[in-house]
Symmetry: C2
C-alpha cells in the first residue's frame, strides 16, 4: 500500500478500518431480534405480575379475569405489530414514530412523539433495572435488601460503559436474550408437561398465602375500572415494540422486509411468553398483592413490611423447576441480564433519536454528528441522571415505576398510527395502480385500527393511572417539549440573523485593507514562527505589539528586537495595572476607530501543551485575550501554534478519542446508507 | 472631553478612573496600622490563654512563671520589630522575607520562606477564625455550640467576599481594630484602677475552679521544657509581624520610614496588650486547663465534656467589666471582628506573595498579572479549602490549631534575618563612608541578634511542638516547596525548548507560501464575512472547504456557491461517518505532505453568542476542530467572529469583570510604584 495513493482514498472514505466495518454492522435477522427486541421481550418479566397485582385489589377471585386481560394484551400486541409492519415498509429510513408523526401530522405532533420517546428512554432504564434487580434478588437476597443502591450501581455501570464507548455488539445481546427466551419456553413446556401429563401439583412459594381484598366484591363500573387498570399494567409488555421501526437502516437487505419479519417474530415470542406465564401463575397459585405487607396474609396474619414479593416469573420458575435448581438460577440470571440489556437499549436509542432531532434543530446541532463524544456524553449523563433520580425517588420499586411508563409509549403509538392513516390517504390520492391501491387500503385499515385501539388504550392508561404516577411522565414530556421548542426557536432566530443577503455586494462593511498586529511578549521560537507566518500573509500593514507590564523586560525585548534587525515595527503599550487584555483590546478598537473600513488581524503565538495541568501554567492570558477579541467587531484572530514536545501526549489522546464509537451506532446503521435513503426521499 | 483626544490617553494609562485612584490607594500610617497589624494585634486574643494553658499542666502554681514568659515574648517582639525595621529600610519593594532570603541566601532559602508563608496564610485563616468563633461564643453560646459549622460559615463568607472582589478598604479595617485596641486598653486601665485604687477584688468566672495538675511538682529539665513550650505558645503573638515589610509600596512617602514607624507602633501596642492581659489574668485568677473536661475541677469534681472554656480575654473582661455589661459585649464583638479581619489579611496577602512567586516562575504565570480574576479565584479557593479542611479536622479548636501555627512564622523570621546579615556583609564590603558603615554595622548587629533569637525560638518550637502538630505544618511546607519546584522546572524546560536561536535565519522550517483554506458549512453572513477577510489576506492560494455530512445540504451549498458566482473554488470532502473534524485534519495534513515548505492557514467563521447555554448550541465542532488543528504542525488557525445580537450580553459581563479588583490590591500598592522600585534596584 503506497502511502501516496492511499491519501486521497482516505480523504474520500475516511480511515480504511472504518470503511471496512460497514458491512459488518449490518445485522442479520437472528442478531437484529435480540438487539431490538430485548426491551419488549424482557417486559414479560414484569408485565404478568403487574396484571395480577392490580387484580388482587378485588381479591384472589379476580385472578380469574387475568386470561381475558392476557387475551386483550395479545390482541393489542398483534394490532401494534401489524401496524408497525406498515410503518417499516413505508418509512425505511429509521426515523420511526417521530418521522411518521412529523411528516404526516406536522411538527407539533412530531415533537410530542419525540418528547414521549425521550421520557420513555428514561423510564426504560429505570423500570428495566428495577425489575432486573428484583429478579436477581429472588436468587440473591442481598441484592433485594439493598435494592436502590444496587439499581443505582447498575445504572452507573451502564453509564460508564456507554461513556467509554463500548460498542453495542450483536453477540452481546444475542446470548442472554436467547437464553432467556429458551428458558421461558422450557419452563412453559415443562410446566405443561408436569401438569398435564405427569399430573404433578406445582405450588408457587406464595400459594399458601391469602390475599385480603382491599375492595371485596367489586362490581359494575368499579370492577370495569379495575380490569382496565390491570389491562393498562399488562400493556407494559408492549413497550419497545417501536424500536425496530427506528432501526430499519441497520438491517441486511431487503431491509424493510427483514425488519417486518423480525417484528412479527418478536410479537409472537412476546405474546406466547406473556400468556404462558399468566397461565402458569394461575395454575401454580401465585399470589401477588399491591401492598404485600398488609394485604398478603400467612396463616391469617399479614406478612409485614419485611416480606419481599418476588416477581411472578421467578415464582413460577420455582414452582416448575424447584427452588435453587440449576434451571431456576439460569433463568433468574438470564432474566436480570436481559432486563439490564433492555436498559442499555435506551442508552443506544437516545443518540439515534437525538441525532434525528438535532438534524431538525430541536436539539444541539452537535448531536447530529456521529462520534461527537462530548455531546453524546452529555446526553448519556442526562439520561442516567434522570433514571437515577426516578429510581431513588421510587425506591427502585418496579411496580410504582411502571405506573409512569406506558403513557409515553401509547402517545407515540397513537400519533404514529394516526400519521400512517394520513400517509396512506395522501398516497391514495395520487396512486392509480389498482393492485397498489388495494394494498394501501389494506394498510390504511390496519393502521386505522391500530390508531383507534392504541388511542383507546392511551385514554384508559391516562384515566386509570393518572394519579398513580402518569402525571409525572406527562410533566416530563412537557419539559422536553418546552426545551426543544426553545432550542428550535433559538436556532431559527440565529438563522434569520445570519441569513446571507441576496446579491454579491450587499454587505456594507466589506473591509478594504487589513492591518495585522502580532502580539509579542518575548522573542522565542513560537514568536519567530508567528512572525514568519505573519509576514507570509502579506497584509497591508504589519506591526508587532507588546504590553509593558515590566519595564525591564520590555527594555530587553526592544533591545533584542533591534539587535536581531527584525524589519517589523515594534509598538509598546503601557499598562499601569499590569493587565494585558485591556490595553490590547483598547488598541485594536482605536485602530478600528481610525479606519473603520479596515479589518484588524490579531496574530497570537501560542504554545500547545499536552497535559491539563500544563494548561494551568500557560496560555491563560492568550486564551482570555482571544475570547475578548471575538467580541470586537471587524477583528480576526489568528493562532499560530507551536507544538511543545509534551503536546504529543495530547495528540495521542485525541486520536484515541476519535476511535470511540458512539452508543447506538449499530442500530443506527451506516451513515452512507442513511444518507442515501434520506436524499432518496427528498 | 473630546472622544478623539481621549483615546491615546486611555491607551497610555488605561481607564481614567483607575489612574485617578492611584493616589487614593496609598495608605497613611493611621490606616496602614490596622490594615497590616490586625493579624499580630488580634493574636493577643488567644496567645495569653495558650501560655496559661500549657503552664496548667504543672498545676496552678506554675502560673507564676507566666510574667517571665511574657517578658520573654516582649523581648522577642522587640527583637523582631527592630530587625524588620532594618528590612523595611533595606528592601522597600515589598518583596518581604521571600525577597530577602532569595537575594541573600539563594533561591532554595527563598522558596523555603515562601512555602512557610503560604502555610502560614492557611493557618492564619484557620486559627483566627477558630479563635474569633470562641470569642464570639463567650457572648453568644449558640456559636460555640456549633463551633465547626460557624467557623466554616465564616470561611465561606470571607471566601465569597474575596471572590466577588470586595475591595480591601482601610476604613473597613480601621474601625474594628481601633475599637478592639481601645477596648483592651480601657480594660487594662479600668482593671488597674479598680484593683489598685478602689481595691476591688475582681474574680474571673473560673476563679473558683481548681486545676488537677497532670504532672504535679514538675522540676528540672521537665519544667524547663514545659516553660519553653509555654513560651512557644506565647510566640503566637508574633505572627503577622512581617506583614508590614511586604506592604512597604502601599505606604505614603517616605515609605520606608513610615513603614518602620508603623512597625514600632504595632510592636508597642501588641506587647502592652499582651502583658496587660497576662497580669489581669493572674490578678483575677483565671483558670485555663489543657484538657478542661478532666483537669478542671468545680467543687472537687471534673467539669466534664459539656464545659466550654472561654478565652482569657473574655474571662478578664467579665471580671473587669462584669458579665453581659455593654463594654464586655463590645469587646467580645470587636475581638471576634478583628480576628475575622486578621483571617481576611491572608486572603489579601496570598495574591501579593503569589504574584511575586509567579514573577519568579514558581507559580502559574497569570498570578503575576493583577486583575486576573480566574487565577486569583483558584488561589482563594485553594486557601479557603485548606483552611476549611484544617478547621474541620481540628474541630475549630484554636488551641490545637495553634500548635501548627508558629513553625512557618519562625522559619521565615530566621531565614529573613540571616539573609539580612549577609546583606549588610555584602554592602560593608564596598561601603567606605564611615557614617554609613557605622549605621550598617549597627543594623547588622540587630539582624544578627534577631536571626539568633528567632532561630533559637524555631528550635524550641520544633522541639516542643513537633508531635503536637508542628509536623503537619512542615508537611504542608514540603508540599508547597515540591509543587513550586516542579512548576519552576516545567517553565525552565519550556523556556529552553522555545529559546530563540541566534542569527536571523536559523529556523529551517521557515515556510515559503501560504495555502488558505476557508471552512464553510452554509452560506450566511458569518461565512461571507470570513470569505471577504480571507480574500483580503492575499495568501498564495485560497479555497473554500466543506465536509459532506448531508448530501442534500452539500448539493444546495454547491448550487448557491455557483449562483452567487463566488470566485473561490469550493472543495467538498466526503465523510462517511458524518464527522467533521477528522476529514479536515486529514486534508490539512495532506496539503502539508504535498508541499512541506508551505504553511496552511485555516480560516473558520464563528458566531459569538452571549450566554453559556448558547455555547452548548453552537460552535462546538468549530472549537474542537480548532483544538485539533493546533496540534498539527505548520498550521495557523484564524477565527473570523460574527457577533450575534446576544453577544452584547457577554460583552457587558466581560467589561464588568474587568472592573473587579483583586484582593490584596491595597496592600500591594500601585503597580507603577512597584515597577519603579523594581527597575531601580536592578
Amino acid at each position: 500500500m503506497s502511502k501516496l495513493t492511499d491519501v486521497p482514498k482516505r480523504i474520500l472514505i475516511g480511515r480504511a478500518l472504518r470503511s471496512d466495518r460497514l458491512g459488518e454492522t449490518l445485522l442479520p435477522k437472528r442478531i437484529a431480534l435480540p438487539v431490538f427486541a430485548s426491551d419488549p421481550l424482557s417486559s414479560v418479566a414484569y408485565a404478568p405480575g403487574e396484571v395480577l397485582l392490580v387484580l388482587s385489589i378485588a381479591g384472589v377471585s379476580a385472578y380469574h379475569f387475568s386470561p381475558w386481560i392476557a387475551v386483550a394484551v395479545v390482541v393489542l400486541m398483534f394490532t401494534v405489530v401489524a401496524s408497525y409492519r406498515q410503518n417499516v415498509h413505508a418509512y425505511p429510513s429509521g426515523g420511526g414514530d417521530y418521522e411518521v408523526a412529523t411528516t404526516n401530522l406536522g411538527p407539533r405532533a412530531g415533537l410530542t412523539v419525540a418528547s414521549a420517546l425521550l421520557v420513555d428512554y428514561v423510564l426504560t432504564v429505570a423500570v428495566s433495572i428495577a425489575s432486573g434487580i428484583e429478579n436477581l434478588g429472588s436468587a440473591i437476597p442481598f441484592v433485594v435488601e439493598h435494592k436502590t443502591a444496587c439499581a443505582v450501581a447498575v445504572i452507573v455501570l451502564l453509564t460508564l460503559m456507554n461513556l467509554r464507548g463500548v460498542r453495542e455488539s450483536g453477540k452481546l445481546f444475542a446470548i442472554p436474550t436467547y437464553v432467556f427466551v429458551s428458558g421461558v419456553f422450557i419452563m412453559i413446556v415443562w410446566g405443561a408437561f408436569r401438569g398435564l401429563v405427569l399430573g404433578d401439583t406445582m405450588r408457587a412459594p406464595t400459594a399458601q398465602f391469602h390475599i385480603e381484598a382491599e375492595h371485596q366484591g367489586l362490581a359494575g363500573f368499579a370492577l370495569v375500572f379495575l380490569l382496565l387498570r390491570a389491562f393498562s399494567s399488562g400493556c407494559a409488555a408492549l413497550t419497545g415494540v417501536e424500536a425496530i421501526s427506528n432501526g430499519v437502516p441497520a438491517f441486511r437487505k431487503p431491509k424493510s422486509r427483514n425488519a417486518a419479519t423480525t417484528l412479527a417474530m418478536m410479537g409472537l415470542l412476546a405474546v406466547t411468553m406473556f400468556c404462558g406465564i399468566i397461565v402458569l401463575a394461575l395454575v401454580t397459585d401465585v399470589r401477588m398483592a399491591e401492598n404485600p405487607a398488609t394485604d398478603l396474609l400467612r396463616n391469617g396474619t399479614p406478612v409485614g413490611s419485611g416480606y419481599v414479593q418476588n416477581p411472578v416469573i421467578t415464582q413460577v420458575a420455582e414452582a416448575v423447576f424447584g427452588k435453587g435448581s440449576f434451571l431456576f438460577i439460569v433463568l433468574a440470571a438470564a432474566t436480570a441480564l436481559v432486563l439490564f440489556l433492555a436498559a442499555n437499549t435506551a442508552y443506544n436509542g437516545f443518540p439515534v433519536l437525538g441525532s434525528i432531532l438535532a438534524q431538525d434543530r430541536y436539539l444541539p446541532r452537535q448531536l447530529h454528528t456521529r462520534g461527537d463524544r462530548l455531546a453524546f456524553s452529555n446526553g448519556i449523563v442526562l439520561l442516567a441522571g434522570a433514571a437515577t433520580f426516578l429510581v431513588w425517588i421510587y425506591g427502585a420499586d418496579s411496580t410504582r415505576l411502571i405506573q409512569l411508563y406506558i403513557v409515553g409509549v401509547f402517545v407515540s403509538f397513537t400519533l404514529s398510527q394516526t400519521g400512517m392513516v394520513r400517509h396512506w390517504n395522501r398516497h391514495l390520492a395520487t396512486e392509480t395502480d389498482p393492485a397498489k391501491r388495494r394494498h394501501m387500503i389494506r394498510s390504511r385499515a390496519i393502521n386505522a385500527f391500530g390508531a383507534f385501539f392504541t388511542g383507546l388504550v392511551l385514554v384508559v392508561v391516562l384515566a386509570t393511572k393518572f394519579t398513580h404516577g402518569a402525571w409525572v411522565a406527562l410533566l416530563g414530556m412537557m419539559i422536553f417539549y418546552a426545551t426543544m421548542t426553545a432550542i428550535r426557536r433559538h436556532y431559527d432566530r440565529v438563522a434569520a440573523e445570519i441569513a446571507a443577503p441576496e446579491g454579491p455586494s450587499d454587505d456594507s462593511v466589506r473591509p478594504s485593507r487589513v492591518h495585522s498586529v502580532l502580539l509579542i511578549s518575548k522573542i522565542h521560537r513560537p514568536t519567530l514562527r508567528a512572525l514568519a507566518y505573519a509576514k507570509l500573509m502579506r497584509s497591508d500593514t504589519l506591526e508587532a505589539l507588546t504590553v509593558n507590564v515590566d519595564p525591564a523586560e520590555t527594555k530587553a525585548l526592544r533591545e533584542e528586537w533591534e539587535r536581531r534587525g527584525i524589519d517589523v515595527p515594534l509598538k509598546v503599550l503601557d499598562s499601569p495595572y499590569r493587565e494585558v487584555t485591556r490595553p490590547v483590546i483598547e488598541y485594536v478598537k482605536s485602530l478600528r476607530r481610525e479606519s473603520p473600513r479596515d479589518a484588524v488581524s490579531v496574530i497570537i503565538p501560542e504554545y500547545v501543551v499536552g497535559h491539563w495541568y500544563e494548561h494551568l501554567l500557560h496560555n491563560q492570558s492568550a486564551l482570555r485575550l482571544k475570547g475578548r477579541l471575538l467580541f470586537t467587531p471587524g477583528v480576526m484572530v489568528t493562532s499560530v501554534p507551536y507544538q511543545l514536545q509534551s503536546s504529543e501526549a495530547a495528540k495521542q489522546r485525541a486520536r484515541k478519542r476519535q476511535e470511540w464509537s458512539a452508543p447506538g451506532s449499530v442500530r443506527r446503521g451506516p451513515a452512507t446508507e442513511r444518507a442515501k435513503e434520506h436524499s432518496g426521499r427528498e
